[in-house]
Symmetry: C2
Subunit: 222 residues, 2 copies
């Protein structure tokens, strides 16, 4: 079975785990405390980051988008990118929206301050960064609702890697109790659909030392 070197609360690792689930590919998870900078791990990925996918033939892949594109090529059905070049471009635009823009404006501030800083011994979260992340998230959740008013899912009328990517980032914030769902009805309806997918189940079972997710985290009807 292939191995995914990961961190349970990394949105980029969660994106790959959901994709593996959607493609019905079993995986062995191995937690990698990247801040230890283990020599053997750096030999697998000199960028020193997770996710890293190690295939049974020892082929190694790094970077969440490179891994997901590879999985899409190897297991084309169900298609998670779309069936035309234009559809794939729209899916990839939204993947970049969440992996880049959402990460910089939201995830980095909240996950970075609450989880990474603590795990790496960096002390208490910076309250200014936390507040910025919580303010910025509104714009993105409203954008999700706006897209879902026009399409069944974020990039198209079918579920795609755009939903997976957005769901991965948002699931981390939800684990940390940082989304006030009552204020974002449209995004909540979309996230309820995401959460109920079988590929999401292993994420909802994640437990991380030192963190207690809110009671609604694993609840499909929150």
């Amino acid at each position: 079975m292939p191995t995914l070197h990961h961190l349970p609360l990394s949105p980029f690792c969660r994106k790959v785990r959901i994709t593996l689930g959607e493609k019905s590919l079993p995986i062995e998870l191995r937690e990698e405390r990247v801040w230890d900078r283990r020599r053997d791990f750096l030999a697998l990925n000199p960028a020193g980051k997770v996710p890293v996918l190690e295939m049974e033939n020892n082929h190694v892949l790094a970077d969440s988008q490179a891994i997901c594109e590879f999985l899409e090529e190897m297991v084309p059905s169900p298609s998670l990118l779309g069936t035309t070049p234009e559809a794939r471009a729209e899916t990839r635009r939204l993947i970049a929206w969440f992996d880049d823009k959402f990460y910089r404006e939201v995830t980095q501030h909240i996950y970075g301050e609450k989880v990474l800083r603590r795990q790496t011994g960096g002390g208490s979260p910076d309250s200014v960064a936390l507040r910025a992340g919580r303010t910025n998230v509104a714009h993105h959740l409203n954008y999700i609702a706006w897209l879902c008013d026009r399409r069944t899912w974020l990039a198209a009328d079918h579920f795609s890697l755009a939903d997976i990517t957005a769901g991965a980032h948002i699931s981390v914030l939800d684990f940390l109790g940082d989304i006030d769902w009552d204020r974002f009805e449209g995004a909540k309806l979309w996230y309820q659909r995401i959460k109920s997918r079988p590929s999401f189940r292993s994420l909802l079972a994640d437990r991380v030392n030192g963190f207690q997710p809110p009671p609604h985290y694993a609840n499909l009807d929150f």
Copy 2:
């Protein structure tokens, strides 16, 4: 002819321009001062960023990687990603290395401080950030040399989007005079090969108000 909304010194726009050149696709360039947040531009790309590619049929694409993947699908030859899933994964790993890791550790500090800050009226560059960028670049240039000791080009024995992406970022630093090439012989040999490609020519002719590239910038034998 399609239109590329761009900024001449944005590494992400340069990546798309080089790709268009490699695919022999003519393009009309339109400069977009993204910080003005023009309403018509935000309607094209709500992320408010360049590059944005507007096709003749009015189809709009945003995000440099989504655009380059689209161009690769529409014009498969010459292939810029590789011919096997594994080769494409390696190319995409290195694209992410430069668009993400290199951008955060180097380009953002130098281009962000010297160009973006000035263009948006943010005052003088932060010398601490500049110094960090100049220190961090060494690690990346040594990695380029290391890869080129093992392969003809960064991702494989053929020129790819990994070379384009790395070349795009490095060309911006070179325009700003921030690479001491004498210290990085291996990376310099690779960059000389990049610079001599016809697809690079329009970048070497770029002039930007308020910036004077060093004499070696457009010189192929620097």
